[in-house]
Symmetry: C2
Subunit: 301 residues, 2 copies
Amino acid sequence: MSIVFSFPAYETIANSIADEKDMQRGDVTIRQFPDGESYVRLNSPVQGQDVIIVCGLDKPDRKIMALMFFAHAAREMGAKSIGLVAPYLGYMRQDKKFQDGEAVTADIFAAFLSQIVDWLVTVDPHLHRHEKLNEIYSIPSIAIHANDLIAEWVRVNINRPLLIGPDAESEQWVSEVAKKAGAPFVILTKIRRGDRDVEVSIPNVATWHTHTPILIDDIISTASTMITTAEHLKEAGMKPPVCIGVHGIFAGDAYENLLTSGIENVITCNSIHHKSNGISIENIITHAVMNIKSNPGLLTI
Amino acid sequence: MSIVFSFPAYETIANSIADEKDMQRGDVTIRQFPDGESYVRLNSPVQGQDVIIVCGLDKPDRKIMALMFFAHAAREMGAKSIGLVAPYLGYMRQDKKFQDGEAVTADIFAAFLSQIVDWLVTVDPHLHRHEKLNEIYSIPSIAIHANDLIAEWVRVNINRPLLIGPDAESEQWVSEVAKKAGAPFVILTKIRRGDRDVEVSIPNVATWHTHTPILIDDIISTASTMITTAEHLKEAGMKPPVCIGVHGIFAGDAYENLLTSGIENVITCNSIHHKSNGISIENIITHAVMNIKSNPGLLTI
């Protein structure tokens, strides 16, 4: 038997997994003391069971101690294994030293998380200089993709879409989504000067005036890239774009800033709970977890 | 040579240590990206050096990832050793399972921190069921005490003081501070019903009407205990008390609530940077660190 626990805000995904055969739902209390320390209590027995915990790692510093406490408590209570479903995986962006003396947090965080849990399932991790999670994660780590769901959403909801990828890195998956949605695409060139300072070059879009531009990115954090791009599209006489992000982090006022930047609307997957959620990933996550259950060989690296 | 780095808000203590012989000050950048992930860059070389990092562990979840990144980066850059000066040490309160299924965070956090750094110096850790840090920390861990400094502050600043300890646990050190300050003391009985719900019994204080009550505790977090006690003292016709905490955490509005609860004033040690700081601990910390430097034997458990 497996028992599925949820961090706050991941109940939909945990319930979807727990609805399957040989799965049950577990109950855990996770809260903060007034002094900012985390408290964790497992209210369901886990002796001899395969434990699955659903905990996205956006704002990872706020959750990682509680996740560590959860895993230690579960092991101490006799759990057979502990798997992590992290719909969003944090600390993937600093994947090299851009300057001397920098901590390569992607590597250090991966090593730490690999000590805490036994396997990992995540959705569209921000792989850039690394091709696969297992270059930095020493536990079996499975990345699933929201491409099909996004392509389907575009196909059903948008008339004459033009997919727009923000940078060269995005070409591979934007082209794939475009192909599946039966839509054309263009890729922009992005120069990042700081956390919030981004310049974007727009290729000749004059031929697409009758299309609805779909700005698509894996992570929407400050939304600077999308806001800048939306302004350029407007200057080029394009229609207001629809913005799609797999993961809507929306740092600070990013969501409000994006909504008021002359776009049509914003849609994200529910990997991070947010009012922009419009594409549900619980089915593909549940499928991935059940695939692991029936093919334990997937958990050998 | 040793090189001393500081997390934000611990510069005074780091500078005090770095002023000593064979010590130098290092520079580190620690900041958060808009998405809540931590960034760490060591701007000083540490090759072959003994590294000391000053980082208090109040609100520990906010800092612990950055501390882990700092330690990994320092080791990767060739540091000979990494010592942590944590003027306040977090996660000391959940030192047992009060209910089934609870994570014993004191033990888990201690094991984790023991993996990151090589030794630890702290001030008045909240030792309750454990007598010594080395029952949970596997690295050499030295606890120093602010008793003498507090006693001296009371002696110099208060006429006819009556020291008041909040609960049975506090008796040992409150009696010691009282003795050093040449003052009488009483110990209260505390019943805790929740994070912020505390009941306090006041013994007969009628004989102390002409004294200034000094409420003294190791940690002021919600300040519920001090506020409740201050109300009881008022009902008993005592003077408004002076409140002294070694560590002023002041969760939420605790400081404002305490100030307006009919007390005289609040004084804390600068283990946690706060406007109530009135007792400086950098000298006793520097002394402890220099003691370790000249007696490396202190670092064998």
